[in-house]
C-alpha cells in the first residue's frame, strides 16, 4: 500500500480549508486521496458536516433585542423615513 501524502493528524487540521475551497491543487488532491483510503477521516468529515447542518437548523440567533429597544429602533425608522 502506498503511503498517502497526508495523514489523519494533518487531515483534521486542513479539512476546513478544503471545505472552503482554499487549498492549492496538489494539497486538495492529497486530501481527497486520503479521504478515499481512510474511513475514519470520512466519518470525521461526516460529523463536521452534520454539526454545520445542526447549526443551520438552529437558524436563529439567540435572544432578540428587548421590546423597548426594538420599539425605539422602529420609531427611529419611522421618524427618519418621514424626514
Amino acid at each position: 500500500m502506498l503511503q498517502p501524502e497526508i495523514r489523519c493528524v494533518e487531515f483534521v487540521e486542513t479539512v476546513t480549508e478544503w471545505m472552503e475551497g482554499a487549498l492549492l491543487e496538489d494539497e486538495r488532491l492529497a486530501l481527497e486521496e486520503h479521504l478515499v483510503i481512510c474511513p475514519h477521516c470520512t466519518e470525521y468529515l461526516e460529523q463536521l458536516r452534520l454539526s454545520v447542518a445542526v447549526l443551520r437548523e438552529l437558524g436563529t440567533d439567540d435572544e432578540p433585542p428587548a421590546p423597548d429597544t426594538r420599539q425605539a429602533l422602529l420609531e427611529m425608522f419611522r421618524r427618519e423615513r418621514r424626514a
Binding site: 494533518e10 479539512v15 482554499a22 460529523q47 454539526s51 445542526v54 436563529t60 439567540d62 429602533l73
Partner: protein, 226 residues
C-alpha cells in the same frame, strides 16, 4: 494565494440574492416590517461584533443603534455592489472601532489576535498513533454509528449545541454564528470583523472543530459508546 481583497472597498462581485434585493427595495419604500426583520435577524450578532471593539454592553447598544441609523439614512445611496449584510457590518465595524479607540481600548486586536495566536489542536493528539509506521493515523477514531438527521439532532440537542457555541472564545463564536447559524458568506464575516480571509478560516476551523467534538461526545452518549 488569498485572492480576496479586504481593503474596505466595495466588493467587485455582485451576486445579490433576489430576497435581499426585495428587502432593500422595501427598506427604501419605508416598509417598517422590513426594518423589523433586519433588527430581529441581526441585532444580537451586531451587539456581539460591537462588543469585540467596545468595553460595555451599553456602548455596544449605542453603536448598533448608530449603525441602524446609518442604514436608514444610507439605504437610498446603497449601491448593491456588496451584500446588504456586508455593507451593514462595515458600517458597524467602523463605528465600533471609532468608539473603541475613543475609549482607548485595543480589545479587538487583543481578542482576535489572541485567539489566532493560541496553539490549538483540532483533535486531542492522544487520539492519534504516536509512533510506528502508522504514526499520525487514528488510534481512537470517531465511532461510526447510524447518525440521526440534523433536524432530529437540532430538536433533541439544539439548546446544548447553542450553549457549546456560546462557550467559545468571542471571535470564534461570532464567526461560526455568522457562517453556520445565519448562513453569512466569508466575505460578510471578514467585513464584520475586519479580518482577512485566511484568519476568518482559522477562526471558523477552530470553532467548527470544537463543535464537532461536542457533537461527537453527544452522539457517543446517545448510542452508549462510552
Amino acid at each position: 494565494m488569498d485572492s480576496q481583497i479586504d481593503d474596505g472597498a466595495p466588493a467587485e462581485t455582485s451576486d445579490i440574492d433576489p430576497g435581499e434585493r426585495a428587502l432593500v427595495a422595501a427598506l427604501r419604500a419605508g416598509d417598517e416590517g422590513a426594518f423589523a426583520q433586519l433588527i430581529d435577524r441581526y441585532y444580537t450578532t451586531m451587539i456581539r461584533v460591537a462588543r469585540m471593539h467596545v468595553a460595555t454592553r451599553e456602548a455596544a447598544e449605542d453603536v448598533v443603534q448608530e449603525t441602524f441609523l446609518g442604514v436608514i439614512k444610507g439605504i437610498d445611496r446603497f449601491e448593491e455592489r456588496s451584500s446588504l449584510r456586508t455593507w451593514m457590518f462595515r458600517i458597524l465595524v467602523n463605528r465600533a472601532k471609532t468608539r473603541g479607540e475613543r475609549e482607548a481600548r485595543t480589545r479587538p486586536f487583543s481578542s482576535v489576535a489572541g485567539e489566532l495566536d493560541a496553539d490549538e489542536r483540532s483533535v486531542d493528539p492522544e487520539r492519534f498513533l504516536a509512533s510506528g509506521r502508522w504514526s499520525g493515523f487514528w488510534a481512537a477514531p470517531p465511532s461510526t454509528q447510524h447518525c440521526p438527521e440534523a433536524r432530529v439532532l437540532a430538536s433533541e440537542a439544539g439548546a446544548r449545541v447553542a450553549a457549546a457555541i456560546d462557550a467559545l472564545p468571542p471571535a470564534q463564536r461570532t464567526v461560526i454564528t455568522m457562517r453556520d447559524v445565519q448562513g453569512c458568506t466569508s466575505e460578510e464575516v471578514c467585513a464584520a470583523l475586519d479580518i482577512s480571509e485566511a484568519n476568518q478560516r482559522v477562526l471558523l476551523h477552530r470553532a467548527r472543530s470544537k463543535t464537532r467534538a461536542f457533537l461527537e461526545q453527544y452522539l457517543d452518549e446517545r448510542t452508549g459508546v462510552h
